[in-house]
């Protein structure tokens, strides 16, 4: 334990003082990531070889290649990605001001909170009939279901971020003459960024995880739809291609968020 701690100290020191060495820990991280992924794939291979009814990585790769070549994978990915991106973006965009309202004004909290709490425990699967009744079978209900998932994850975080804010910073802004709107935009939002980003990251996961449910609603294409379809024939390789694609897309989007976080919270002293 001590050795590790010391290593951390040294690393911090090195990072701070010699920027050209800054890349080395990142490369080390990448190596660790790759090692971890390799171990995972090996484990999967072993499991599938050991008689568990799983398709082997090779089978999945072949199926993935087929789907890629005939264009299905690309069009599915495009369809799903569009839905997730729109739903997620809307969800967070709405969640941030709503979370702020809840954290800042007692009346807003009193009015909104019961409904936020209530609806976020409702499974997306159960929302489908309602979404269909209200929004038909186009893109809207699908995006709506994803929107809800992202919204609820993010609104709680933002709210908590606002509630946990350091009061002295708000006071500092107030004595500089700043009014509520300015305090929200210029103090509360930046100070809550770590919380908001937790919300966005969790919300992003939720958005992807909801995709399958969303694409139950008369989707013409999409990864969730493809997986569901494959389930009709128990086509496990296709299901795995879907899962892995979703996983990778989720991972990439998460990296983008992490990068944004790094840019946005560089001001923090952090490990």
């Amino acid at each position: 334990m001590v050795a590790v701690t010391d290593a951390t100290v040294r690393q911090t020191a090195a990072q701070r003082s010699t920027p050209q060495k800054g890349r080395s820990p990142r490369r080390r991280m990448l190596v660790l990531n790759l090692v971890s992924v390799a171990i995972g794939i090996l484990l999967w291979w072993a499991l599938s070889a050991s008689g568990l009814r799983l398709p082997s990585p090779a089978e999945v790769a072949v199926r993935g290649w087929e789907l890629l070549v005939d264009g299905t994978l690309l069009s599915d990915t495009a369809a799903s990605l569009t839905r997730v991106l729109i739903g997620f973006a809307l969800g967070t965009l709405v969640a941030i001001p709503v979370g702020f309202l809840m954290g800042w004004y007692a009346w807003a909290r009193g009015l909104i909170e019961p409904w936020v709490q209530f609806f976020r425990t409702i499974p997306p699967l159960a929302m489908i009939p309602l979404a269909l009744v209200l929004l038909g079978i186009g893109e809207e209900p699908k995006i709506f279901v994803i929107f809800l998932a992202a919204f609820f994850a993010c609104v709680i975080s933002t709210f908590q971020g606002v509630v946990n804010m350091d009061r002295t910073l708000i006071n500092a802004a107030r004595v500089l003459g700043t009014k509520d709107a300015g305090i929200f935009l210029r103090v509360v939002v930046p100070a809550s960024v770590p919380f908001i980003l937790v919300g966005m990251r969790v919300g992003l996961g939720a958005a992807w995880a909801t995709l399958v449910a969303a694409e139950l609603i008369a989707a013409q294409a999409g990864l969730g739809y493809r997986m569901q379809n494959a389930q009709l024939y128990y086509d496990l390789p296709t299901i795995f291609v879907g899962l892995i694609t979703i996983g990778i897309l989720g991972l990439l989007m998460d990296r983008v968020l992490l990068f944004a976080e790094h840019k946005l919270t560089g001001w923090q002293e952090r490990r």
Partner: protein, 261 residues
Amino acid sequence: MTATTQLADARISVRHVRKTFDLKGEEFVALGDVSLDVADNEFVTVVGPSGCGKSTLMNILAGLDMPSSGEALVDGDAVTGPGPERGVIFQQYALFPWLTVRKNVEFGLKTAGLNAKDRREKAEHFIDMVGLGQFADALPKMLSGGMKQRCAIARAYAVNPSILLMDEPFGALDALTRVKLQEQLLDTWSRDKRTVVFITHDVDEAVYLANRVVVMAARPGRIFEIVDVDLPYPRTEEMRLSPEFAALRNRVWNAVYHQNP
């Protein structure tokens, strides 16, 4: 013992202010019946033992906290919140950690509606004034304690408030920087006709700067004595060595020293 002065043309007046806190279920009296008037363009320094309620009093004047009873008036109106005419320097600096020194100093200017160019010019001026020119683009986490404090000073100065409420503003500064900033403060104060309430632990500083030194006592927090400083402005380094100054300093010292037996 409570010392009260009532001025007709007071910019700030504190009337029988009492402030209690809930300390683990018991009522803790942070301020018990404090009354004080500060005239326009007056420079008042406040000294007193740690925990006697100096910061509490300042928070009330700033409009960030409300008295449990009594009231604080600024320009005759009861204080219900912060106002742009009152600039505050907090004991804990309270810089925005996500903004550079420059952006911190520009913060209030932006609220005031200045355009980017004016903001930048003005910020530049005050950043140079506190000697942070080289660090204008540094984030607070990259600053030393004293540098943070100077950044907070520049931020408060930049909005040009007619009342300055300063809570140990020079506490983390070395002697040289401190003297420089004292001179600058006296300079602007006399030129721009400011009203200043200045909390400090340095008795020398308190006497050197003030028209009046308010000596507070603890348990309950109250005004113990008010020492008028009859030295003329501008104050000089020679004055610091004068016997009048020594006498005043001793008076304040004794007031602080001997209140707690």
